[in-house]
């Protein structure tokens, strides 16, 4: 039995959660796709954002989205520092990217430990007036708890998209991903541009973290659960394509939502990864790859 | 001459919508020295990739020693005696130069020979090319010129019947070109058939017995170096209208 409103609601739910997936995976898309740096610790940066959001929200009553925004510059700086050290120890030495991967695994452990020591291991959530409410649009029902993350996710993606397309730094980042030699001949410093790009990637994590803690209770080990999904979205979208990441995230969201509605949720994560394997086997550059 | 060593018959190759080869015909007789020239983007490298097997043509046949090898894998062609160099050298960076040569020695030439025999053989080939001193270095430290010499040496290690050279002379000085040409003549005398793709006109004109000219995926001319030099169409292609 296929009822229209069930189907419609499933699709809407998929689109909403897709917006959130996009926000989480944006950072990977930028860092991994454009800079070829396998920052496996990205989900942990997201969780860090979540914990900061939780802390500022529960102690000062700040709105989670606001916290996400406030933290972006801080995360940008952190990203900068991480890239500088990565560059110093790996890229400059011409080390193979694989070694960088292990480095980020180490970083992942270090962040997890820092979170455990600073915030404890209890489940945490945030509060905001609108989080319990929902918006009824005829047969489609949209909860703010998911709608706000979707909206922010889309805004973030669009913003980044235009940043890459229109601004000097944005174009320079796109350029550096293709040919850093050519860029340095043009007088731009690839290292500086890359550290800006990395900073932007990490800055998106603070917002993604704020969104995450709005949707789900968080705990320090949660980051590991998200690694797979985050990478799946980034790859599906074609690494490095910000727009692609958004579309892929929404496709993944809809696929999961439809599976959950009609076949039982047990298969939904399998469906998304199966889908990923299929895409990789047929079109290795992803759905929207360059 | 009974039959050509290699025959490329009416080969087509497309990339997306772009026709890189649209019905090319080439042949080379045993022991011959063929030059293949044409402006950039005329399909020379695509042609070589089709001959060596890295690409499979959409239409047409490639015949080697009388056998249709159009669907054969590249490594089987290498074992059958077709060796090539790459326009942008593709060394095995994790190995020393000698080890680089051991790969074709073990795989293409004398399959599964013992390593020490292969190494000895490799050093002989390096001596022939004149880079015996580089044997124990890693390719990453080599100059462009040495890198190209190593590519040549590596393709020789496969004991080719047909050797295809994709711009080995690029960037070489005049004396170095002569040096390489001398080696190539010697190899040709030993019975190796050679196809040379080259932008260095002095080399290709001086070396080839016969030259074939490609433009936009088609043969436009063929003949002895002298004939080619005086061919108005070739002139048009190279100098523009």
């Amino acid at each position: 039995m296929v009822s229209i409103d069930l189907l419609l609601n499933a699709v809407v739910a998929g689109i909403l959660i897709g917006g959130f997936y996009a926000a989480v995976s944006l950072g990977i898309s930028v860092v991994f796709g454009l800079l070829d740096i396998a920052n496996i610790a990205h989900p942990l940066f997201v969780i860090t954002g979540s914990y900061f959001t939780f802390y500022l929200n529960s102690n000062f009553g700040l709105d989670p989205i606001l916290v996400g925004l406030i933290l972006m510059p801080l995360f940008f700086v952190i990203g900068n520092i991480v890239y500088q050290s990565y560059y110093h120890f790996f890229e400059k030495q011409g080390a193979e990217p694989l070694r960088g991967l292990v480095f980020f695994f180490g970083v992942l452990f270090l962040i997890e430990v820092s979170i455990i020591i600073t915030f404890g291991v209890d489940y945490q959530l945030v509060e905001a007036a609108y989080l319990g409410e929902s918006l009824n649009l005829g047969i489609v029902n949209v909860s703010y708890r998911l709608f706000i993350p979707f909206l922010v996710g889309v805004l973030l993606t669009t913003g980044l998209h235009f940043f890459f397309a229109k601004t000097f730094y944005g174009r320079a980042i796109m350029g550096v991903s293709q040919d850093s030699l050519a860029l340095s001949l043009m007088g731009a410093d690839p290292v500086r541009i890359k550290s800006v790009a990395f900073g932007i990637g990490i800055a998106t994590a603070s917002m993604a973290g704020a969104l995450l803690v709005m949707i789900l209770p968080i705990e320090p080990a949660l980051g590991r659960e998200y690694i797979g999904r985050v990478f799946a979205v980034a790859v599906l979208g074609g690494l490095g394509s910000v727009k692609g990441a958004l579309f892929a995230a929404i496709i993944l969201g809809i696929a999961e939502s439809l599976t959950a509605t009609y076949f039982g949720a047990a298969w939904s994560s399998g469906v998304s990864f199966g889908f990923l394997l299929l895409v990789l086997a047929v079109r290795p550059a992803g759905l929207f790859g360059r | 001459m009974s039959q050509p060593l290699l025959e490329v018959q009416q080969v087509f190759k497309n990339f997306g919508g772009f026709a890189a080869l649209s019905g090319v015909n080439i042949y080379v007789n045993p022991g011959e020295r063929l030059g293949l020239i044409g402006p950039n983007g005329s399909g020379k490298t695509t042609m070589i990739n089709c001959i060596s097997g890295l690409l499979t043509p959409e239409k047409g046949k490639i015949i080697f020693e009388g056998n249709d090898i159009t669907q054969m894998t590249p490594h089987h062609r290498a074992r059958a005696g077709i060796m090539r160099t790459f326009q942008i050298p593709k060394p095995f960076n994790s190995m020393t130069v000698v080890e680089n040569l051991c790969i074709p020695l073990e795989y293409a030439a004398e399959h599964k020979t013992s390593l020490s025999v292969a190494e000895e053989e490799a050093r002989k080939i390096l001596t022939l090319i004149g880079i015996e001193a580089l044997g124990d270095l890693k390719p990453t430290g080599l100059t462009q010129v040495d890198m190209r010499k190593m590519e040549l040496a590596r393709s020789l290690a496969g004991r080719p019947k047909l050797l295809i050279l994709d711009e080995v002379m690029a960037g070489l000085s005049g004396s170095e070109v002569d040096e390489i040409l001398e080696i190539l003549f010697k190899l040709n005398e030993q019975g190796i058939t050679i196809i040379m793709i080259e932008h260095v006109m002095r080399a290709v004109l001086g070396f080839s017995k016969r030259i074939s000219v490609l433009n936009t995926g088609l043969n436009i001319a063929e003949g002895t170096p002298d004939e080619i030099l005086n061919n108005p169409e070739v002139e048009k292609v190279y100098l523009g209208e």
């Binding site: 739910a13 789900l216 659960e225 | -």
Partner: protein
Amino acid sequence: MKLLKRFRIQNIVGFLMGSIFISGLFAPSVYAAEPLKIGLGMALTGGLAAAGKPAKLSIEIWRDDVNKNGGIMGRPVEIIVYDDQTKPSNVPAIYGKLLDVDKVDFVVSGYGTNLIVPAMPIVMDRNMVFMTLFGLAANEKFEYENYFQIMPSGPNPLTDWSEGFFKLASEQNPKPKTIAILAADSEFALNTAKGARMNSKKYGFEIVYDGKYPPGTPDFTPIVRAIKAKNPDIFYVGSYPPGSVGIVKAAKEIDLSPKMIGGGMVGLQYTSIQMNLGKTLNGIVNYWFWAPEPTMKFTGIEAFLSKYQSEAVKYKYDPLGYYLPPFAYAYVQLLGKAIEGAQSFEQQKVADYIRNNAIDTVVGKVSFGKNGEWAKSRALQVQLQNIQGNSIDEFNRAGKMIVLHPEEVKSGNLIYPFPGWQ
């Protein structure tokens, strides 16, 4: 205070008897001072750390309590805890270390079935007493006689677990007819769902939806909507903390209001989650372990909780600690009392004592039956009522978590049907 006195008398008697017995064999002055070592692995990092860390704290509170009173049979207690990182593969080596290198006198388990079972072969090899913390039917395959499990799920863990929930439902008028069952794809939740299925049959409910969801599901609205389309009278949920929160929120947003909702949701007992959900919790019926109701004031529980709560703030653990901590205290307390009761450090004698006696703990009088489970189930069903807001004061006193089942600890009545989301 009465408890303390009895402790002392028992200890003195125990100490005297112990030393008389031992003095025949060894020089008592050396032996009496030797600490009684109890070893365990516990999830202090990784997925179960939120439960494991407070459990460790509770065990240490017990150790301090005992040592303040002269130890067990004169021997001060020493606890050796290793972090199993919530990884089963770490467990065998940890217990090997405890037994062969640290030479502990007794072992108890870590938290949860996954982390209990890997220790079983090693413990069984030596016929040791094995007090375990929240394994669900973990001993059914081993049938190990010296295994004792502190979770009050009862002799048939699968069905006893949700028995109360279904009994309550079946007593309502008109009797609900249909049920939807949703469970997290994890060991514990699936087992409760299995029990729920058996109980549905027993009490004559028709299952109209039976599904599971993978851990890490961020959005439950599609699932909840699919359930709403089936319009069940009862919604039985077996879930882990993130899912519990997600399901409650999604059900509220979509207004899925069956006549009864809840059952096996882990996490609703956690203070941080309670404070976040606040009024939304009202009306949910769910399993519980301990609630600050007048019927649940077992000897020593309040003293324990006040110690726990003052420590928990420092470490940012669950501030109230009503879920696991009393039982983590109880399972070592029970072991200690059994040693004293048996007047022996011998594994078999202690095990026999546990098997044959009802032992008083902070979670009540415990006696064991089949497979080392509680002889009689005391799986609580609690309904959350009268919650006005999100402050911690909403949850630290009586009248909020009303115990509905079992009869002997009942503290109030079920509000039926579910009054709708607030």
